[in-house]
Homo-oligomer: 358 residues x 4
């Protein structure tokens, strides 16, 4: 089911080459000022640009609000946003019903839906569906920001290029907007761009890692076990196409640590109880500790590549060489940054509403 | 809310030092033979042993089925299992209300519940709650195994010791039962044990990584986006105390790969369409591909260590040195193996029921 | 939350005077042929006509499918339908923020939403929202009819005029379409029309009762307790504006009966086990018995009447006489008939999917 | 699924002749004082007495709290209560697998579960399961009463005997506790008792109607459409075995009324905005108006009667006369009163929590 969340429920619908895609949210507190301009800005960040690092598809993701706002404020009813699909040449996709593309959902979707799914442009599996996530999050973050909760995602790895240093939140917020790869360091951003361009030139693609930080979350948000911050955020993150890993704080590295290294000692700073380090990523027992919530999301390289690949002709039951033509981002990571950021905002609003913090 | 799942709903309840802990499952198909002995075997795997690698707490997790089975078969009603808590000296825990233990939920729980939570033994945050997960999964896996779906978890890392080679499923199934750390290689198991004993001797603890494989899942299980296999499994895994990372297939490593390396080419083997490699971890577009589902779960080192740590006296608002005494596993990974394995079974049954595969 | 259902989830959104209203359904089995013409026919039945018994508002409820269908078949993705709102003079509604209309949600909505709700035309409380229910049901009934499950609602009471005789299903199906009040008897239909016209002439409105029958439901649909057919249908019915009572089979009359009168004896007819009578309304223990499912839904008279009524000026805190002008059905029952019928179909599909019957 | 509610989730489990029945609630605000004595008092009201109007089954529904309370307060974790089943001679029930009892779930349950359900004592369809509802409500009402929200159910009809007058809330609260039928008028109570005794002597049973009032609900509780007070309460009420009708305020009678009669005019009384009449039953647009919430619940006569009835031998496919022996209430209405009352409390707490009123 395409519904997630409890107190702030998010639903996404549509398909890549159908008439519309959209999102619907329920639970936005009535009376909240919600700017459609601010929503559009987030939609535009996700929409494909014109630079060398993204697909040339000329989408204009103009969002239309069809319900839930009245005179600029949430009415308490579901807020529904629609984006028209344009520029849809879907002829290229018919072939993938017979010869599934490696890395794509073509094959399991064909088996699951027996050919009834809308396969054009990836249909309901398309990365374009994430526009609905951005919409849901762009509403949520306005509610959060009014309560001093801020969310920032940034690219920290593209292929073999990794940003090692930690850039402070506010600086990173500005810097990530200055380059096409959403990296908080100009020099590394250039290397990342090169990595993408090189992959593209070689008819290939490249993966990467996004880091996300949520500042200002009060202590005690989240629930033990199934409603933990980690469970809730990871369920959202793993719904983003291409995500293959999620870790919080020290994450996988903590497996190699001793408890005395990994435990974050409590200290008093500015009369507040904080932890000296933040290996926990701001979460203990599923609850926020008041420290920044930190997590990383691994994206696999774009599955669509122009290089010849081996696949199978399903009808003939024979191996066949496949070349996926068409317009594709050689690296989805830069466009995934606003998706991670906004969808994280949707989850955090959900948890704060559940816990009675808003 | 302590409920997870859709067609196979799992609820866990109780607290570490209350009278009972337990689990409840709804959606087990009526008529399924469910062996209570088989459930007890899984419960015993999670229960603390007597070796050098686990806590000396003398629990006997005898599960009592209070509803849902009749003459050894599921009736269609919720199946509820209870485990009595024993041997509960909770006097040690009072101090943690004033001085929170680093790495534990003490501090955020105190803020969240204002002292109303049952803090003894970690209360509702206790690792002991995972007995309910094991119960839920021990029911589910019997349904799955009848359909040739098999689940296996194994320890692949403890601290700095890592099992690099891939042991075939059936061999690993046997080998992991021959040693206390649930490792599929005897020699590496010895090193892991040493790593744990060493940490224990140094009044410290150590983390690790569990790998889990699900064999026999038919093609097309899972849903796009929020109901993806990754979303569903990760939501469950991150509800297990101590988990800080989850990755599928190539996981975080795929961020450094090219598409041409990471895409798994389709081939025909034994007249079946399979993929040559399995970087996808058996999942494309959130759906099973028919290949083994593969994921890894990172556990942080046990938070309770006998070494002195820095914390804060919350009332006096002053730093204070804390020594956590009592019985604690120096490494939770071995006991987490059956938790990962069984809770994964619960998720897979849920997805298969949702998709109409059972 | 505006979501109902489990395996077939229905969401309605929009508001009376916003840009759109709509509905979304999830869980329609992929591959099902869904005719948009058939959907439109149901939408038209609910839309206001031109006769003496309905509001002259010139809506044209043309539904646009924005996702979920591909080449006339369900894709497995959410099916979303939109209806544009037109002809919206909302100036009349501003006054009701100060002087709430008796029988309407104005007063509690004002208190609940503090004036943030879209009050125009009843906003999210508007009867117009039922278009979303009809949409959801018009999809569902196509799936049901393919499995020989048929749903029929009919007006059996308008004010003091009541249809006492039981008209057989197929005859009633035809007859209810021959008159504006959806009554299965021509003569009684005329009396009902007169009752409505008379009320209208007296600047008043009138209530009524709708009876609904579902034929062809296999034995065993529904769940004990919270998932009972009665619980599920009543939750849907009571969400329709104006509904104040729901009863199954003998309903309230069974309170006055003896067990020996009320119990339906089992007999064998045409080699099938059926009951001789159907006081149970086709439901025992929350499950279908294979007999027709029968229930009645009581509608209060339209709240908007042109007669002067007493209300309160909320700001001045003084009594004030109110006349509700504008276009209003003097009796909502005829237009409620397709709402009851289609929304019942949505519930029955949900229960059949849950139970694995489809 | 045996789960209901959103912010206050209720789960019931067990079966009539299994080892335990029980209930579980999630969402009780942590820190609330919950008296187990007060819970036991409600359980005892439902438990069978010794008078002429109830079954002689010697149950002692002693509830044991297995989790969720600590030092008399809610911890925030699920509160689970268990009641041991005793005195279970289930030999009588085997016959009903072959010859279903009229009015009982035997036949559809046999078809649905293929004989796998626990049929003894009605199994998961048993009226005894309502002990779980009483438990859930007995917790909820303590939270409500602390906020001046009071719930009262009373018997207003048994067979042909009906209490016509309206007894004020506080008087009714006392009077209903003075007689075995829970009627707010001593004289009528005697007639009701006679009606039940007469039915019992004639080896028959008799139905009735329960009226329920909720006082003190603030304005604006409930949600439009699917989350309406009527939808939420009716879904709960119709899950109680034997319920065949639910109506709010004027209910079915409003179908015969004019709008000018049925609309409740707003007036000012004691500086508060109230309505002069309460045909709406305290609910407009699904939201509370601040007036008492009023609804009626119709119960069919007990299905088990000692009179011979016609049924069918399912294996022989032949008609057969059936006599249901054993212990049975000739009228379930008196014991249903605390079930209606407490389960209504559970629903109201859920809605108040959802709406942020608590």
């Amino acid at each position: 089911m395409n519904i997630i969340g409890s107190a702030y429920k998010v639903c996404i619908f549509g398909s890549s080459h159908g008439p519309f895609i959209g999102g619907s949210v329920q639970g936005c507190p009535h009376g909240e000022k919600i700017s459609t301009t601010a929503i559009q800005i987030e939609m535009d960040r996700r929409a494909p640009g014109k630079g060398p690092v993204s697909t040339p598809r000329s989408e204009r993701d103009r969002v239309e609000i069809v319900s839930g706002l009245h005179e600029g404020r949430a009415t308490g009813a579901p807020i529904v946003g629609l984006v028209k699909n344009r520029d849809c040449d879907s002829s290229a996709y018919d072939a993938f019903r017979r010869v599934p593309r490696p890395g794509h959902a073509d094959y399991p979707a064909l088996v699951k839906y027996g050919g009834n799914n809308d396969h054009r442009g990836g249909g309901q599996f398309s990365g374009r569906m994430t526009a609905g996530l951005v919409f849901a999050g762009a509403v949520a973050r306005q509610v959060l920001e009014r309560r001093k909760v801020r969310v920032l995602a940034q690219t920290i790895q593209v292929g073999k290029v990794r940003l090692e240093k930690l850039v402070p939140f506010s600086a990173a917020e500005k810097l990530t907007r200055t380059n096409a790869v959403c990296c908080a360091d100009r020099a590394v951003a250039e290397q990342m761009k090169d990595e993408i361009v090189k992959a593209h030139e070689e008819k290939d693609s490249v993966g990467g890692i996004v880091r996300c930080t949520v500042l200002g979350v009060p202590v005690g948000v989240g629930e033990p076990f199934f409603g933990s911050i980690e469970s809730s955020l990871s369920a959202m993150m793993f719904s983003i196409p291409g995500v293959k890993g999620v870790e919080f704080g020290a994450g996988f590295a903590s497996g190699a640590l001793r408890g005395s290294e990994n435990n974050d000692p409590f200290i008093i700073r500015n009369k507040k109880i904080v932890t000296k380090s933040n290996n926990a990523g701001g979460i203990l027992g599923g609850l926020s500790t008041g420290m920044p919530i930190e997590f990383k999301v691994a994206f696999k390289p774009t599955s669509s590549i122009a290089k010849p690949q081996m696949s199978v002709d399903i009808e003939a039951k024979k191996p066949i060489e496949l070349v996926v033509s068409g317009r594709h981002d050689p690296c989805i990571v830069p466009r995934a940054v606003p998706v991670v950021e906004n969808s994280a905002a949707a989850v955090m609003l959900d948890l704060m509403l559940q816990g009675g913090f808003i």
